[in-house]
Symmetry: C2
Subunit: 423 residues, 2 copies
């Protein structure tokens, strides 16, 4: 591991450059930022060959290290994924600029006119693994919201990230913006991550971790600046006694199986004892038929021999796989209690035709997202209409739920008077 | 200093109790919270004698330790201050409840209806010094916003704080709420503060320090939970070449001298070279005549022999006294640069009749509050119309500027559907 001074010699200038770039970006209007984004998208398309070649070298190195299939897949780029990256950058350019928006305005009895106006957060640190596209996605979102960004990707996608970063820089320079608006930490040294987390408090306003649980845990533990993110998405679907059975089946299957590896995938199914006689078996059989392993309590086990006995830890577990925990509970209050005890405050859904029961669930469940009669897989910035997201937060401070452009801003108060003084 | 385990044995149960109380408060409607506040105000009035007696004992102990006059004054309660505390609690009860407010709502193309709804932050830790009224003020604001609170006051106001806390508990119990909604750390042990800052991450959502620079610095350095607050209010008044002179004089004098000890007091006067010939002398003479020491650059020194030469550190200094630094700058851009370099991102004002110059200042100056043609002393939650404030934040995350009830809340998303699943 490198000497702290060596790391500092690399990171400190990056921090200072980011601060300077942030000051420029704070005063940069939408047209110039969008021009940079669109030019970057064009650069990505033009450099597709070079990006793929860099990616090949990353893949070869990973294969030589016997990296598993799923990880190789996260690492891999192809022509379609590169086009998707380019299009994603252009889509960010199309989004409304969050900076400068008047979030609230009012007049005081003494005639002062007060506005709360959105401003960039400043400098954002993004620490991520495997997926090279984060370089472009996160870089674009930060730029659009007027923030300078320092990116630190996974070492296995280093060449791919660097190739993409070069395209972003080309876009910045084409629009007359400092290249240092988007910086990529140039070292594989793991000490760089620790330095970002604890040694850059003068420069960073927030850190966003994008990756697996181990990474997020480390960031939350060591960071000395605010962190936006979530550790776990242990999401629940509660099927109430007044749930329409076919709606419950469609929602449950989608919530678990549409994509099992995303944070909004349902990990526990709770079925009201009041409808278990009619609803439980169809729900469980649907899941089994779709290839999902079901780990259930005693009552759920009696539905089908393929149901595995659930243990206490299963109620806490985020499987990110075709596995679900299932339990029969005594009504909505028991469901609320179960979620409060075992959940991760991410996303929970209730299926019911009873409006009062729905309202009780929606108001009592303290998660970032609560849904009535819809799938937990809607826990996504795009689905929310934010256009894009940099992640989902389960914290309560600053941002909760999908983190889009608006959440990457702060605000200031602009007060207009005509000579007022305070008595 | 007590054993860590001893402190833990006191603090951990408080944390658990606060979490449980927060869960109750999150579901408690305005009428009950207001009933508790009004009953607490009544209890304060009824116990005025006992509170004053406790305060007398605190004052006697402080005087015996030769505590200075200003500190004794912050410590002192009298009949008027007690009535003011009671009335302050009642005023908080009158404020609109921030919890449950729909901050945004929209419909998606697929028919999902999404609402962003305010919820309490959860558990707030308040660490403060000298002033016993913070026990009541902060306690009331946290309760109104649905948060449980753990208060840790200064040891010199311990008896006064305890007497006030008892009144708050009476109010809670009268309204049928858990007494643990508002807890007072019962020990003088300084280790309790360290434990609150770093050992209660499971329980606290945020910490608010109320006190001098040393306390705030310690909190910002050691806290392992988010902190809302500010370190310094090094506020500026910039008098532009197009400033109306009499408006500039009135604003400058008010900004510096209305109350010199508050964070919104102006600490540096910047005068545009373009109007120095006509504006500088009257501004400086006004301040000197009001008993304010002026520390100025060479040009300011030439106005009056009483002007003290300013040193580099004066531009950084928050005097909290009848002292001001004064400098002539080359126009609005130079003022913006000076503020960016020396300021604390708190509150800055420009006096000018030139709309374009004003807009440039307002958009380029990156402070929590920027004012055009008004005094910096308006940097206050009450003046902003928030009804009350728990402090002012110069951070960029979660809350910036005056921190009122709304800033003591988080939010969640409530999504209503009719069976939608994600494609």
């Amino acid at each position: 591991m490198s000497d702290l001074r060596e790391i500092g010699a690399i990171m400190e200038p990056m921090g200072r450059a980011a601060l300077a770039a942030a000051a420029v970006l704070a005063r940069t209007g939408s047209p110039r930022k969008d021009a940079a984004l669109n030019a970057a998208a064009g650069a990505v398309r033009a450099a597709a060959g070079a990006i793929l070649a860099a990616n090949e070298r990353d893949l070869a190195a990973a294969a030589a290290r016997n990296v598993g299939h799923a990880r190789l897949d996260r690492l891999r780029l192809d022509a379609a994924r590169i086009e998707s990256i380019a299009r994603g950058i252009e889509q960010v350019a199309q989004l409304p600029d969050p900076v400068g928006r008047v979030r609230a305005s009012w007049e005081r009895p003494n005639g002062l006119h007060i506005e709360r106006i959105a401003v960039p957060l400043g400098v954002i640190g993004i620490i991520y693994e495997s997926r090279p596209n984060v370089t472009a996605d996160a870089g674009a979102l930060c730029l659009k919201s007027g923030n300078a960004v320092i990116l630190r990707g996974g070492s296995e996608s280093e060449r791919s990230s660097r190739a993409l970063h070069e395209c972003l820089v080309q876009g910045l320079e084409a629009a007359g913006l400092p290249a240092t608006c988007i910086q990529l930490v140039p070292t594989r040294d793991r000490a760089a991550v620790g330095y970002l987390l604890a040694g850059m408090t003068e420069y960073l306003d927030v850190i966003v971790p994008r990756g697996g649980k181990e990474l997020v845990e480390r960031v939350q533990k060591e960071a000395r600046v605010p962190v936006i993110g979530h550790l776990e998405g242990n999401c629940h679907v509660y099927v109430d006694r007044d749930a329409d059975l076919s709606m419950a089946r469609v929602i449950t299957l989608n919530a678990k199986m549409r994509r099992t590896g995303i944070c909004g995938a349902a990990e526990t199914l709770l079925v009201d004892a009041g409808c278990a006689a009619t609803h439980l078996a169809p729900l469980v059989e649907d899941l089994l038929a779709a290839g999902c392993e079901v780990r259930g309590d005693a009552q759920v086990q009696r539905v089908d021999a393929r149901v595995v006995p659930a243990r206490e830890e299963d109620w806490y577990t985020e499987y990110l796989d075709a596995v679900i925990a299932a339990r029969v509970v005594a009504g909505v209050d028991a469901a609320i209690e179960h979620i409060a005890r075992y959940g991760s405050a991410h996303t929970e859904a209730i299926v019911t035709a009873n409006a009062a029961t729905a309202e009780r669930f929606l108001s009592h469940v303290d998660s970032a997202i609560v849904l009535h009669n819809a799938s937990t897989q809607f826990a996504d910035g795009g689905e929310f209409g934010m256009g894009a997201e940099i992640g989902i937060s389960t914290d309560r401070f600053h941002a909760r739920g999908p983190v889009g452009l608006e959440q990457l801003t702060s605000y200031k108060y602009v007060v207009r008077g005509s000579g007022q003084v305070r008595p």
